[in-house]
Amino acid sequence: MLPPNPDPVLNQPITPALVKKHGLLPDEYEKVREHLGREPTLTELGIFSVMWSEHCSYKNTRPLLRGFPTEKRGATANFGRVLVKAGEENAGIIDVGDGWAIAFKIESHNHPSAIEPFEGAATGVGGIIRDIFTMGARPVLLTNSLRFGELDSPVTKRLLRGVVAGIAHYGNCVGVPTVGGDVYFDRSYEGNPLVNALCLGTLRHDQIRRGKATGLGNPVYYVGAATGRDGLGGAAFASKELSAESASDRPAVQKGDPFMEKLLIEACLEMMAVPGLVVGIQDMGAAGLTCSTCETASRGGAGIEIELDRVPQRESGMNSYEVMLSESQERMLVIVQLGREREIESVFEKWDLHAANVGTVTDTGRMVVRQHGTVVADIPTSALTDGAPVYQREARRPAYLDETSIWTPEGAGLPDLDLAGAQAALRALLSHPTIASKRWIYRQYDHMVQHGTVVLPGSDAGVVRLRLGESEKFIAISNDCNGRYCYLNPHRGALIAMVECLRNLVCAGATPLAMTDNLNFGNPYKPENFYQLKECVRGLAEACQFFDVPVVGGNVSLYNESPDGAIDPTPTVSVVGFIEKEEHITRQFVRAPGARLVLLGGAPAELGGSQFLGIVHGKKTGDAPAVDLPAEKRLQDFLLAQIRAGLVGAAHDLSEGGLMVALSEMLFGPDRVGAAADLSGLAAPRLDALLFGESQGRVLVAVAADDEAAVLAAAKAAGVAADGIGSSTGDGKLSVRTALGELAWPVSELRHGWESSIETAMKRPGLS
C-alpha cells in the first residue's frame, strides 16, 4: 500500500459509487487492482479513469480502426512514404519529396464547445496545433469541420457565433491561417455541435521528433503555462469532495491563451533545432500531465518519476489529483539529454516561459509520482496504455433503414417539379445555410497570414504554397462529410465522404496523398449507433484502400447525443493532395463569357438524401446516392490529365444541391458572368432529379470553345461520360433549357440570396 496522501481529502476509501463516477466498470476496476496488486489511491484512480476513458484509450473503437491502410502503396523512395504512421505518435507524417515532409491531423472538441462555444473551439484549435509542433513541424495551416443545428434557432446562432469567434481568436493570434473547411446545419446536430479542427505543419525528415522517454537518468522538463485547476469542474470527482476550494473556482472548460501558444511554438521549434538536445517531446492535452508522462514512458519502454512540487502551479494548495488531471493549456513535456539542462532553460528564458525540471527517466517501467516527499502514485506504465481494455461492441442494423433504403420518389408518388417550382427551388437551395456562402464565417478567420495561401476559402479546396527552405511546393486540402448520406447508408455515406474529398482535390489540380479522419458518432453501447460506426469505418477503409490514400492519423468522438437521439453519423474526412506545378492550380469559378461548360459523369436520376428532398419536401429518406469507385477513379485520372494539359479553365465537383447549385456556384466568382445551358439532351425521367439530384462521380468544367471537342473525345476514350451542356455568357443571366421548358434567373439575384443568407441570419442590431 502507498502511504497516505499529503492532502487528507484524498485519503477517503474508494467506494463502488466513486469508481462509477470515474467512468470505470466494476470489472475494469478489478483489472486496475490486478495491475497494481493492491487498491489504487484516489490519485491513481483518477489516472486510470482518464487513461482508460474512450477519448484516450479508444477502447470501443480500436479493433475497428485496424482496418485502415496506414502505408502508401504507390510511394517511391523519393516521394510519398509514410514516415510516422497513424497511432504511433501525436500526428502522422508523410514525405513530400526533397527531404521534406508534412505532419497533419484532425481532432474534435465537441462536448466542450457545446458547453462554452468560444473557449471550447479555441482550445480545440490550440490542442491540434500542439499535436503538430510536438512532432517537430512548424504549423502552416488550419481547417475545420463544423456541424450545427438549424440556423433559425437562437441556440444555434449563439453556438455558431461563439465557435467561429473562438477558432478565429486562437488561430489568428497564433498566426496560423485558417484556409478552409466545411459547415453543415442540420437538425440532427441540435444540442450536439461538432467542432473538428485540423492542423498541418511542415518539417524536414531530420526534424521529426517523437513522444518517447528514453535514456536512463535523462531529465524530464515541463515547459509552457503554469498549471491551474482547469477542466476539473467536469471531473468525475464531485468538487465539494475534492478540496476546500469552492466549485465556482474550478472551471469546467479550459481557457486557451493563444499568445502563450505562439511563444511555445517558437521556443519549442528553437529548442528542437539544437542537435541532440531534445530526446522526446509530447504536448499535454487531455488529462495533461498524466497522459504525457505515461505515454512517453510507454513508447520509450522506460519508466518515469515526477516530482509534483516542481510543477509550476498558478493556484495554491493543489493536491496530486488536481495536478495530475488538470487540463491547463499550452504545456509540453520534454525529455532532455542529460547534462544539457542549461541549454533548454536558456531558450525558454528568452521567450519568458516556464521550463521546470520535474522528473527523470528511469528503467523501472513504472510511473512514480511524488508530492511533498510522499509517493502518491506508482503504476506500471504499460497498464495505462497497452493494458487498457478493448471491447467488441455489438452492432445491429437500425430498423429505420428498412424504410428509408427502399424509398424512391416514384414509389412514394413524389410529384415532380414544374417550371415555377424549379425556379423557386434553386433560390431556396442556394440560400439554405448548408449550401449558402460561408463568407460570414471565413472572413473572421485570418486566412492569409504566412503569405502562402494561393486559393482562398470559397473554392472546392484550399491551396497553400509551402515554403520549404529555399524551395516551394503546393498542396491542396479539403474537408468533407455529408452526415445525411451516412445516416441513410453508413457504408456508402463514408465512401462518398472520401470520393467527394478526392474530387475536390482533383478539381484543384492535386493528386491525393493521405488523409486524416474524425469519427463523430453517438453512444457506442447502443448497437444501432455501433452499426453506423462500424459500417462507416468499413466504407472509409475501403475507399482509402482503393485509392491508395493512407490514414496518417485521426480522432474518435463518441457519445454525441442527447435524450432525443444521436447525431447523424459523421465521419469527417480531410485529404491532403499534392500539386505538381503551380500552373495546374485550378479554381471553381468561370472567369469570362464564351467558355464551354462540360458535365462529366452523366446525369443519373436519384433524389435520396438530397438537400432538395429535405428543403423542398421536408424529407430525409431514400438510399444514399450510388457510388462506383472505378468510375470515380477514371473521372479523377481523366480530369487531372486535362488540367495538366492546360485544357481546364475552371472545375467544380457536384455535391449538395446537384447540378444547378454547382453551375450557379461557378458563376459566383470575382467576375460577373452568366451561363446558358441546355439540358434537354440529357436522359432525365424527372426534372427534380436532373436539376438537384446528388448523384456522385460528377464534375462541371469550363473549357475554351476550341478545346471542347478534344475534351469530349478524350473523355470518351477514358470511359468518362461527358456532355457539353452550354456556355458562359455576359448577359448576367443563368438560363437553362429543359425538356419541360426554359428556366432563367438573374445571376445577381441568386448570388445575393447565396451571399447574404448567413450574414442576415447572424446580424446583430446596431452593429455593422
Partner: protein, 227 residues
Amino acid sequence: MNIAVLQFPGSNCDQDAYHLFATGLGVPTRYVWHKERSLGETDLVVIPGGFAYGDYLRCGAIARFSPIMGAVHEYAGKGGLVFGICNGFQILCEAGLLPGALIRNRSLEYRCLTCDLAVEDAGPVFNTAALGRRIRLPIGHGEGNYRIDAAGRASLETNRQVLLRYVENPNGSQGDIAGVRNEEGNVFGMMPHPDRAFERFHPSRDGLAVVRTILSARFPKMIRRSA
C-alpha cells in the same frame, strides 16, 4: 541597403514582412529581437503585424515599452525611416510616433479580406504619382478602427498626413483612414498588409509598389522600377 524587421513576442507576420523585402524586393533584410537595445545600421525599420504581447491591455500598449523601442524613438527622431504594418501601426500609435489610436472594429468581428484603397497625395514621397489613384491590399485585423480627436484630425488633413483611405470602410475608421504618416514624413503606418500583396499568386501585388514608395524617401531611384 538593409532592412530591419522587429520581432516582439507574439509578432506573427514577421516572416511575411521579412519575405516582402528579402524575396519580393530582393534586398538584404534581418530580424531584430525586441530585447536588443540597438538597431544597428539600417535604412528602414519595419514593425510587422501580429499580436505582440497577445494584444493584452491594448494592442501595442506593452510592446511600446520593449527595450528596442528606445532605439526606435532615437532613430525616428533623427529622421530614420520607420514603417508599421497592422500591429506595427498600432504599436507606433501607442508609442506616440504616429497620431491617433486604433480600437475594435465597429462590427466587433475580425475581418480578413482584400480592400480597394484610395491613394492620397500625402507629400513628396507617398502620392498618386508614385502609386496611382487606387491600390488593393488585404487586411486582417480585429482592431483597425482608426480614431483621433477633432483637432488631431484637422491637423492630419491640413498636413496631408493621410496615406490611404478605404473605398468601402471595413472597420469604422474615422475618415475611412487606413494609414497615416507623421508630420515630418519619416514614419509611416497602415493597417492593410503589403506583406500579403507581393507574391505572384496573391490577389494583388501592390504591396511591392507601396514599400518601394516608402523606401524612395531614402532611395529616390527605387520608385522608377516597374512593379
